[in-house]
Symmetry: D2
Subunit: 403 residues, 4 copies
């Protein structure tokens, strides 16, 4: 193993990273600096995290509030492209990785570290995302991925490892589900979900009401959209992060934003995940509604290809790449027109845009007043059709002649 | 106007085509043969349609049952591509047009007609769809589109036109919505929908319950999928059309399949439409669930591009084209693997696949038994990541050196 | 015909537009202002064009020098996307149309015209390009397309029409080829080219030497590329337009840039065209060479989709659209890195980049000095391969088990 | 190291695989069966290859003639998609890998081997291609990649290794270029090519004349194309492989098919390669010429996306995948129409299709005889343009109103 002096670890306070701190010290003989990203995972997870880190043996612990930046610089850009992975997944974990990696590198520079570490397992996407970002931002720093190195392979063995070292840890020996939370979403894997033939049990879900338990009356929410971002909810302005918090509060009780899919991991195998993205699902629906008004046929087709490409890029952790800059530039160009207002109905697990308007709408209330002559003459349709179908006609005439 | 001897009219029995029969005879001096396509629009619409046609002055009326063929040869191919127009519209009207046009041409050949006619307006997509199909199938036949020629421009004027000729017609002078129905869906336009800022009123919807009125208990339905087609519902086998009928019966009470969108018409303007596609929405969800299991990452990305391209093609009426054959061949190739079983939960306007399995699943229950060594070694991940992010690394090192 | 007071005509001084001036006056009773775009079509074509316009009856003639603007604002953006239509055509005519339309609208605003006119025929692309641009820039102005209205249908009839009005015209009654020239290219249609089974005769080509007549010694030219634009030739700096002129001078004698294709017109039929684009072909080769150095695999794949999409857009005249802005933004993002130097060899009709370098190259001369450990460890390849092919492996194992 | 009994090695008779035979025996204690694929690399390379293999210690040597199968089942499918990697590379090495891997697996099954081995280095694409194919075809067999395992790292060390074991080898200690040849092409890497700022010296090229040394008179060749394949040259019918041989004979003296590029390897870094593909370049030009005649605008755009996708797939060694089947099905659909005749002119390094015809041409010589009324009425253009540009018009009118 190459010589390491100081490593910055993406630390969560959970069982895995609690064990990684002493493991790094023992195996690399290095100082370990803990770095905790506050991406909105919640008070509960952050409570006492610095003390825990120190107790595990970290020389210091930096907790960095990334909540507003995450929504502004990672979530909104992604939303503007319309990206959803494999048609369904709203990329909640994926979008958080690059900002965490970036902040982690910044801490590493600040404390003069020569290595970076994370607690991702060797079968998942997150290791790829973190390390791809590290490659782009800090190719000179070593990367240590304990899960790919050590021989610890169960919660029990990790707990034993900590107990042997007298490091306190509140984690239990059994944990059914593996979850990842931030302001945007929470994901769930494991347990009965490992068989796609099992319906998720009610204990899977933690962020939203079930549709059955949701209120029997629909709720309407009005969103102001400005240049592709939601700037007000029911008439009140919010910062990007606060807006997301507000929409989570509104949408979660209605059971909005639950998704249950089998997806393709970047590392070649499939996994089954359940996701809860209440506020985000409402945001997506609102932006989609504005797109319906402002983008013409060719633009929507093009944007669909942007979305698909960007979804894979975000999912794969290729955030700090020229490809991201290019696709995003294309999406930002459209977003400049994405201004308007949308009213959405939330009911029993579902959100639907029921009212929409935009100053840049190509469907204008005043359409009729343009006058038939000026804008659309029905007789024009004949010419359009004749030329639109001309190659079919020529081809068919060719075949007739050849008979 | 060029000389026409005999024209076959796509006749519905409604006000427009009732007036077109005498109008064609008077203006083209030709015999008019009525052709009625039974695409599952319902008994009510078809009742007495032959008598009506004759009463309007048609020399004959052919009613052709296209229901099974439509589902087998138009709907399933489209489903296999995964096509949804602009992300939402399930193409119900679009898919019906080519089969109607094809059957109409067959009647024209049979009766020796030299022209084809339809009752589509000059501002819509259907004229383009019909006439594009005519171009491909019968480039030698004339096409007459009365709505682009005559001066009749209101329901009143059409009723007067019929009254003057003593042609009976049960149509009323006012009609709020314009609707189009077949076995797959019903569409609604007009009325208050013309302003996207209006939420659709309850009288818009005719095929499904509102989510609010839907049962308070969810219903589960089990579908057997074979090579991309649904072949059994809750264990009972059905023909393609009967399967669709069955799923409509199951899903409609739950309010499944309502959509309310502003879409881009092919002819350049936007329109607002509400659609109800209860059974079809369930079918799409089932096929999507199987795709989750059987298609790898690159295949799903590629299929997304097939879907997008095919959706525009179907929407635009470009069915009888080599482009359709090419895209469909690509989709059929995937569909050969699309075999499995899906259980879906229907509740309050929403359908969700909650259980899924396939013999061709890449997510196998037996995955673990492959053994770590044989299939996945976590240490491989490091190599993967290093090469996956190599260009980012080189680029970043370049920049470091230039500093 | 609707009332027109003053029309601005895109005037060339050729036979067609010479006849259009009096025809507009007689048929619309309006004043006709001639507008001549200098897009580098050459002194010969521009000589005396103002006098000709006045002699034809125009009330004024504006000659506007658009040469630098065309290269800067229309050609370079297109080059940055890498667009070539149907794999071959370098879009010479297509790129000139939007700038001409834009300048024509500016003249119309300046002189207070209420209509625009052009001399494009009804079977070609240019009418669509001009009028699509007019729609975007001046939807309030009427458009008159005489070739779609009048009954004049041959050069003889146009010459007679002018002779009857004593308008002098040097045009001859016969003209084999239809050509369109600007600084970027010259196109040729008609004559023996109308049969794709005919090889183009030597009289088709006017701008370049034949490869056979080209020098027997190759010539090398060195180009400096900065942010996607050629800024120096053989060490000497040039403005965008002057650079193109210089490269035409260098490449034309070598027979570089001849293309002979059957292409799909936007209006649905095919046409056969021969094009000469000597300097432009060299420019494209140089930019492609820089792309080889700076863009990684995913970026080149994405850029290929930009190119294809943009080529159709430019060909179709959809320049002043949000789609153009979006795709171009994506391409400009890449172009920011496109800086370097390329040496190209010109010989007997062909140009080849034989030397290339870039400060942003991902293929670095110093690659080896990164050291094997730092950048690429061959043992990493195994892990990469295992994960890269994992879904194939799982699928194959599935099949083995099912046997 | 896991226990291996018998391994089948893809053997070439060159230095690397000569050393691999004893190395496998010594390090894995296994029997080594040599497998030599005859893919048209030439008599010289194959002469005495069996004796060499036995002399190196192989227990047997199988030479399998794959030439016709390679052209029929790997090259033609690829040609039908129009694939060229990164716009230039004709995939000569890439297309040979899957057929070699497939035949190697077949030998392994025949001799009851439990492992496969190859001589590819750890920095290249070929290891990925071979092993991805192995994964799909024989996931149960072990794969040994000596270059990623052993410590031998230079030609000298390999020669020493063989000398120590008294294994005869005619290889020299120095070799400037790394080359790979088959019936389709030869590739060149290394030497001065490692700096893209160096023009390739004349000793790089081995298969074709330089353009300067090519005949001063052009040569014309006439090709018959049937369903996407070249079936006759200058009126004489050939099998697929013999046709390629014939076209190599014709095109190589004219210097046709040289390419010099920097490309992105799948494993993340760039490489510079020179390729000679004389006959293949002529084939591609002929098929492209037929496409110009038979595919309409939307089909050519779609085919461009097929080409791009397929090129990456072939380059990456993803041949035995469902993605390949899907894209190929789409391409085969088009190829059914690709029948016609093309005359090409070969001159000084360049090939150009100068005459082309097809019974399925949408550009028909008889076009005029369709008559203006039947097929194209110039007045239709106005309607087409109005609808084609309608969204631009509506958008522009919106902006006017807002001023």
């Amino acid at each position: 193993m190459s010589k390491i002096n100081k490593v910055v670890l993406a630390y969560s306070g959970g069982l895995d990273t609690s064990a990684i701190v002493p493991w790094l010290k023992e195996n690399y003989g290095c100082e370990v600096v803990a770095f905790v990203a506050d991406v909105g995972q919640g008070e509960e997870e952050l409570a006492g995290v610095e003390q825990k880190a120190i107790a595990s043996g970290a020389s210091a612990c930096y907790v960095v509030d990334l909540k507003e930046e995450m929504v502004s610089d990672y979530i909104y850009p992604t939303l503007k492209t319309g990206a959803t992975y494999e048609g369904t997944y709203l990329l909640g974990t994926s979008m958080a990785r690059p900002i965490i990696a970036k902040a982690q590198v910044e801490i590493a520079r600040k404390v003069g570290a020569d290595a970076l570490s994370h607690g991702c397992t060797g079968k998942g996407n997150d290791q790829v995302r973190f390390e791809s970002c590290f490659s782009a931002l800090a190719p000179d720093l070593k990367v240590i991925a304990p899960w790919r190195e050590w021989s610890l392979s169960s919660r029990e063995s990790l707990l034993d490892y900590l107990a042997e070292r007298n490091i306190p840890c509140a984690a239990s020996a059994t944990k059914i589900y593996s979850r990842d939370a931030n302001a945007w979403h929470i994901s769930h894997e494991g347990g009965e979900l490992e068989d796609p033939w099992n319906e998720p049990s009610s204990q899977v879900w933690t962020m939203t009401n079930s549709p059955e338990a949701a209120p029997d009356k629909p709720e309407y929410v009005s969103l102001l959209v400005e240049k592709g971002e939601i700037t007000a909810v029911n008439g009140e302005r919010y910062s990007p992060y606060q807006c997301l918090v507000k929409l989570n509060e509104i949408a979660a009780p209605h059971g909005v934003g639950r998704v249950d899919i089998v997806e393709n991991r970047l590392v070649g195998m499939k996994s089954r995940g359940c996701y809860e993205t209440p506020g985000g699902t409402v945001m997506m629906a609102a932006l989609q509604a504005i797109d319906e008004l402002i983008l013409d046929k060719s633009c929507r087709k093009w944007k669909a290809s942007l979305s698909e490409e960007f979804a894979h890029l975000v999912y794969d952790g290729r955030w700090f790449t020229p490809l991201k800059d290019s696709i995003l530039a294309a999406a930002e160009s459209f977003a400049q027109q994405a201004t308007g207002e949308v009213v959405l109905k939330l009911y029993k697990g579902h959100v639907q845009a029921v009212q929409k308007q935009s100053i840049n709408s190509l469907y204008s209330e005043d359409f009729a007043t343009f006058g038939e002559d000026d804008v659309y003459d029905q007789s024009h349709a004949e010419g359009f059709i004749r030329l639109f179908s001309l190659s079919s006609r020529i081809s068919a005439l060719n075949k007739l002649k050849q008979q």
